[in-house]
C-alpha cells in the first residue's frame, strides 16, 4: 500500500505495510531520530509528534492512518538555525535537561498543550504531562519552565509558539 503525507512541510510517500508504526518510518527510513522509540506502548511519550497539529505518540500511529495528514517532528518544530521554540528556550534556560531522551517528546506534547491552554495552572500542566515520562529530572523544573513560558507569553500578549505551529 502507498501512503502519502506531509512530513515537516514536504510531500512524502511510503510503500509497504500500512500497519507499520509511524515511529519506525521516521527513525528507520527518514533518519529523523529526534523522535525516540522508548516504550513503544504509548506510555512514555518520547515518540510524540504532531499529526495535523495534534500531539500523538507515533508508536501507536499506524502509517496507514496518516494518509493525507501533516506530520511534524521535533526536527520540524524549529529547524536549521531557526530560533528555539519558546518552550525549548525555557527548558534550556532552566537547566532542565539531563540525559535528554524524553525531551523531544516532552517538547512536542507540551508545545501543543501551551498553544491550546494559554492560561493553564501548574496542576493542569502536570496533568497534561501524564503521558510523558522523565526518568532523570523529577519533573519540577520542566513544570516550572512551562509555567514561565506561559507567563512570558501572557505578558507579551501572544500565544506560545503560535508562529511555529
Amino acid at each position: 500500500m502507498t501512503v502519502t503525507f506531509q512530513l515537516n512541510g514536504e510531500d512524502c510517500s511510503f510503500h509497504g505495510d500500512p500497519m507499520t508504526p509511524l515511529v519506525d518510518i521516521l527513525r528507520r527510513e527518514r533518519f529523523l531520530t529526534g523522535t525516540k522509540a522508548v516504550c513503544r506502548e504509548g506510555f512514555c511519550g518520547a515518540c510524540t509528534v504532531h499529526v495535523d497539529d495534534e500531539a500523538v505518540p507515533s508508536c501507536l500511529k499506524p502509517i496507514g492512518l496518516v494518509q493525507g495528514c501533516a506530520v511534524t517532528t521535533i526536527e520540524g518544530l524549529s529547524s536549521g538555525n531557526q530560533a528555539l521554540h519558546p518552550l525549548q528556550a525555557n527548558f534550556e534556560a532552566a537547566d532542565a535537561v539531563q540525559c535528554g531522551m524524553c525531551f523531544p517528546g516532552m517538547v512536542m506534547s507540551l508545545s501543543a498543550f501551551v498553544r491550546d491552554n494559554p492560561h493553564a495552572s501548574r496542576p493542569e500542566i502536570k496533568a497534561a504531562m501524564v503521558g510523558n515520562i522523565c526518568r532523570c529530572t523529577g519533573y519540577e523544573r520542566i513544570v516550572d519552565a512551562v509555567a514561565d513560558c506561559l507567563d512570558q507569553a501572557r505578558k507579551a500578549g501572544q500565544s506560545v509558539g503560535g508562529i511555529h505551529v
Binding site: C39, E92, V97, C99, M101, R135, Y139, E140
Partner: protein, 782 residues
C-alpha cells in the same frame, strides 16, 4: 583561593540545545542501513542443561551472515569472580539468559532465523529465592564454583554464597551480655528496582584493522574493553570502546553485558553489527537494584547509648555474581557509618539464585540498608521511649568516631546537618494541614554514602586559539559532569571561560584508564586528574610567559584568557600569544594528570572480604519527609520533602539541585510504587511501562534542599560527588514517616496502597527469615 571564584557558577549545559532539538545522536540513533542487525535467542526456562543446540538451519536462512553461541566466546567475566559467560555454555541459569545470537541484514530476517534454531533443554528445578539457595541441600546454581578464576582475593565463598564480606570491631558478645541494655531486633525485606533508562543497552560493533571497535551506551568504557577482551580471549588492547551521549544509566550501565557480542559478530562477518535490547528484553534482564533481606540487632542502654550492634544482610545477586560481589563491601559503611556504636559485627552475603542477575543502581546497597537502619533506629526509640530526633543528634557519628571497620571519621558533619534541617524546616514550614483528615507522619533520617574514587586520567592540550582540549574516558550520562563541572574546573585553573574548554567524549584509544562514571566519582576523580593535568599546563605556560615577559613565573597569574603580572590587571599578554611562542620554541603545551584512591586505613583485622576497607570520601545526607496516608485506600501522598546534603564544595549549585530533585523522585518510586516481582518460573513480571509504575509528574513535589559545604574531602577544590547520593535516604524517610502516620512498623518497601492497607489492618505478615540463624556467627563461613 582565586581560581575558586572563577570555577563556581551555574554554568548551563552545552548539550541542552541539541538534546532539545532532537539532534543528539545517542548510540541507538546511529543505526545505518548498511549495518547487520543482531537478535538474541534467550532461555525460555530459569534453569537447565542444554542438551542440543543446532544452529545450522538458521545459518541457511535468507539474509543471515553469522550465528554465534557460547563456544565462540568461551571466556568468563565478572567482578571479583569470573563466573559469567557471554552466551550460556551448557548450563542455563536464568530465564532470558542469552544462548545464541543471529546477525542478519534486517532485524526481521534475524528473528526469522532465531525461530529455526533447535534448542533442547533439560529443565532443572530452579533455585528461586535466597531462602532456597541457603538450604543445606540446595542445588548449586554454579556446580563448578570452586574452579572459577578469582579476580579479587579475600572474600569467603561456598556453594550458593557467591561472596561474603564481614566486619567486626570490639566485643559484641560482651555488649549484648551487659545487664544495663535492652536488645532491639528488626527484620526488613525489599524488592528489586528497575532502572528504566530511556536508552536501553545497545552497542554497535565493527572490526577495524584487526581490532574490535564498540560504540556503546555505557558508563564504563574500560570495563567493556576488558570484558570483551576476556570473553573473546583477545588482549584487551585489541578492543576500542567509544561512547556517544548516553540516554540514562543510573548504574545499569556500570557493567558490561551485551556489548562484546557485537564485537564477536563483527569479527565473524567483517560487517558493522548493531544489537539493541527491546524494551521487554531490557526490563526482563535488567541488572536491577537487588532484592535484599536484613536483620539488625542492637544492644542499647536506657540513656540511648548503642553498646553493640550486629546485622546479617542477604543480597540476591541472581544467576551471576556481578556487582553484588563488590557491593557486599558497602554494608559495613552503610549500616555502621552513621551512628556511634560500641562494638559491631556485620556480615553481608551475595547469594546465587536462578533469577536474572542484579547489578548496580544509584547508591546501590545503601538505599535499603539506610531504610533498614533508620526504621530500626525508630524502633529503638519506640522501645526505649526516646525522642527520635534527640536520639539521632546524640548518636550520629562525629569527629574521631569509628566506623565498622575501625575507620576514624573526621569532623562533625551530621550534627550540624541535622541543625540545618531544623532551620530549613523553619523556613519552609510544615504541611500537616494538607493532610486534611488523613493520617499524617513526619520523619527525619540520616544516611552515609561515599565517593567511589579509584583511577582516572586526564590530558589537557592548550591550543593556539586559547582553547583547551580535555581528554578523559568520562561519559555524559545526563548528570552534567562532562558539560558542567569538568569544563568549569579546567577553565578555573587556566583562566579561561568554560566554553573555551573542549571536552572529548570517551574513547579508550585516546584517554587512559578510568573506572567509569558512577559512584559519584566523576567530578572528584576525573576532576582531580584534570586538576593535575592543568597544573602541568600552567607550569609550562607560566614558564614560557616568564621568559617572554622577563618576569618570574611565580609573579604571574592566569586570568580572563591572559597571563598577567600579579596585581596588574591587563598587563602581560594573551594566552594564544604564549602558546604560539611555546609551539615555536619548546613545543605545544600539554599536561597529563592521574588520580586514584588514597586507601584510607581500616583497623587491622576488622574488615574481611572487602573491596574497600574504609571510605576515602564519606558523603552524608539528612532527609525529611511529610506524608499523608489515606486510611480507606492505603495511598501515600508525599506532602513535603526536604534535603540537607553534604556536597563538600558546590561547583554548580543549580546542577546539584537538579540532581537532588531527580534522585529524590527515583527514591520516591522505590519507596512507594516501583515494584519488581518474580513469577513462579523466575521471570521478572514487570517487563514494560504498563506493569512497572514509574513516577509521573503528578506524583512528585518540589524538593526543598540546602547544600552543606565545608566537610573535609580529598576531592578537587573540596568537592564530593553530588549526583548519586540524593536517592540514598528516600526509602528511609518515607518508611519512617509512613510508620509514624499509621502507627505500625514498616518493614518492607515499596509501600504500595495494598501493602499499606494490610499494615493498617495488621494483615501484613512481618518478614521472617528461617534461613538466617539466630546466632550471628552461624551466618558466616567462619
Amino acid at each position: 583561593m582565586s581560581e575558586l571564584s572563577a570555577t563556581v557558577m551555574n554554568l548551563p549545559r552545552r548539550d541542552a540545545q541539541d538534546k532539545l532539538r532532537g539532534r543528539t545522536k545517542y548510540t541507538n540513533d546511529r543505526v545505518r542501513p548498511d549495518m547487520l542487525h543482531a537478535v538474541l535467542l534467550r532461555s525460555p526456562v530459569p534453569a537447565g542443561h542444554i542438551r542440543k543446540l543446532d544452529v545450522s538451519a538458521a545459518l541457511r536462512c535468507p539474509g543471515v551472515r553469522a550465528v554465534a553461541t557460547g563456544a565462540d566466546a568461551p571466556g568468563l567475566y565478572g567482578i571479583g569472580i569470573a563466573d559469567h559467560p557471554l552466551l550460556a555454555i551448557d548450563t542455563i541459569r536464568y530465564h532470558g539468559e542469552p544462548i545464541a545470537v543471529v546477525a542478519a541484514e534486517t532485524e526481521k530476517q534475524a528473528r526469522a532465523a532465531l525461530a529455526v534454531i533447535v534448542l533442547e533443554v533439560e529443565p532443572l528445578a530452579p533455585v528461586s529465592t535466597m531462602a532456597e539457595a541457603l538450604q543445606p541441600a540446595a542445588r548449586l546454581v554454579h556446580e563448578g564454583w570452586r574452579g572459577y578464576e578469582v579476580i579479587t582475593e579475600g572474600g569467603a565463598r561456598a556453594g550458593n554464597i557467591a561472596w561474603e564480606a564481614k566486619s567486626s570491631r570490639g566485643d559484641v558478645d560482651a555488649a549484648f551480655a551487659r545487664p544495663d541494655i535492652r536488645i532491639v531486633e528488626s527484620s526488613f525485606t525489599v524488592g528489586r528496582q528497575s532502572h528504566v533508562p530511556f536508552e536501553p543497552r545497545v552497542a554497535i560493533g565493527s572490526w577495524e584493522d584487526g581490532r574490535a571497535h564498540i560504540q556503546t551506551s555505557t558508563q564504563v568504557p574500560w570495563t567493556v574493553r576488558n570484558v570483551t577482551g576476556r570473553v573473546m580471549q583477545l588482549a584487551p588492547g585489541r578492543v576500542r570502546v567509544t561512547v556517544p551521549p548516553v540516554g540514562g544509566g543510573f548504574g545499569l550501565k556500570f557493567d558490561a553485558s551485551i556489548e562484546p557480542i557485537t564485537a564477536l559478530l563483527a569479527r565473524m562477518t567483517g560487517r558493522t553489527v548493531v544489537l539493541e535490547n527491546t524494551r521487554q528484553e531490557e526490563m526482563a534482564t535488567c541488572l536491577c537494584r537487588e532484592n535484599a533481606e536484613i536483620r539488625i540487632r542492637s544492644a542499647v542502654t536506657a540513656e540511648g547509648y548503642i553498646a553493640g550492634r550486629e546485622a546479617v544482610v542477604l543480597m540476591d545477586c541472581g544467576a551471576y555474581g556481578g556487582e553484588q560481589v563488590f557491593l557486599t563491601t558497602m554494608t559495613a559503611h552503610t549500616l555502621a557509618g552513621n551512628y556511634r556504636v560500641g562494638a559491631t559485627r556485620l556480615v553481608s552475603r551475595a547469594v546465587y539464585t536462578n533469577t536474572p542477575p542484579n547489578g548496580a543502581f544509584r547508591a546501590c546497597n545503601g538505599v535499603y540498608n539506610t531504610f533498614a537502619l533508620e526504621r530500626h533506629t525508630d524502633e529503638i526509640c519506640d522501645a526505649l521511649g526516646l525522642d527520635p530526633m534527640e536520639f539521632r543528634k546524640k548518636n550520629v557519628l562525629g569527629d574521631g568516631d569509628l566506623g565498622a571497620t575501625g575507620q576514624v571519621f573526621e569532623a562533625d558533619v551530621l550534627v550540624p546537618m541535622l541543625d540545618r534541617m531544623e532551620a530549613l524546616r523553619a523556613s519552609t514550614g510544615t504541611s500537616e494541614a494538607k493532610a486534611d483528615g488523613r493520617l499524617y507522619g513526619i520523619a527525619t533520617t540520616v544516611g552515609t554514602w561515599f565517593v567511589f574514587v579509584g583511577p582516572s586520567t586526564a590530558t589537557v592540550n592548550l591550543n593556539a586559539d586559547g582553547s583547551a582540549t580535555l581528554v578523559t574516558s568520562g561519559v555524559e550520562i545526563g548528570s552534567g559532569t562532562m558539560v558542567q563541572s569538568l569544563p568549569q574546573i579546567v577553565a578555573g585553573q587556566l583562566g579561561l571561560a568554560p566554553d573555551q574548554v573542549i571536552v572529548r567524549e570517551a574513547d579508550t584509544d585516546a584517554a587512559g584508564l578510568d573506572v567509569g562514571v558512577g559512584g559519584g566519582r566523576t567530578t572528584v576523580s576525573i576532576g582531580a586528574a584534570s586538576l593535575a593535568a592543568c597544573a602541568e599546563v600552567r607550569e609550562k605556560l607560566l614558564r614560557t610567559a616568564g621568559e617572554m615577559l622577563q618576569t618570574r613565573p611565580e609573579d604571574l597569574v592566569l586570568r580572563d584568557g591572559r597571563v598577567e603580572i600579579t596585581g596588574r590587571p591587563g598587563s602581560g599578554m594573551s594566552i594564544p600569544a604564549v602558546v604560539a611562542h611555546a609551539q615555536a620554541t619548546t613545543g605545544p603545551i600539554t599536561g597529563s594528570g592521574a588520580f586514584t584512591a588514597r586507601n584510607t586505613p581500616a583497623m587491622s583485622g576488622c574488615a574481611m572480604g572487602h573491596f574497600i576497607d574504609a571510605l576515602d570520601i564519606p558523603v552524608f545526607v539528612v532527609h525529611e519527609a511529610e506524608v499523608a496516608v489515606d486510611p480507606d485506600t492505603g495511598h501515600v501522598e508525599v506532602l513535603a520533602y526536604r534535603v540537607v546534603q553534604d556536597v563538600g564544595r558546590a561547583l554548580n549549585p543549580r546542577a546539584i539541585l537538579g540532581q537532588i530533585q531527580g534522585g529524590v523522585v527515583q527514591g520516591l518510586g522505590y519507596a512507594l510504587h516501583e515494584e519488581v516481582t518474580l513469577t513462579a518460573d523466575g521471570r521478572i513480571a514487570q517487563d514494560d511501562f504498563e506493569t512497572y509504575r514509574l513516577p509521573l509528574a503528578q506524583d512528585v513535589i518540589p524538593v526543598a534542599a540546602d547544600l552543606y559545604e565545608g566537610a573535609p574531602s580529598m576531592g578537587p577544590l573540596g568537592t564530593k560527588g553530588a549526583g548519586e547520593v540524593p536517592i540514598l535516604a528516600v526509602g528511609a524517610a518515607i518508611g519512617c514517616a509512613v510508620a509514624r502516620a499509621i502507627g505500625k512498623p514498616v518493614r518492607q518497601l515499596p509501600l504500595t496502597p495494598p501493602r499499606v492497607l494490610r499494615l493498617l489492618h495488621e494483615r501484613e505478615p512481618p518478614p521472617e527469615f528461617p534461613h538466617i540463624a539466630p546466632g550471628w556467627a552461624s551466618n558466616t563461613l567462619g
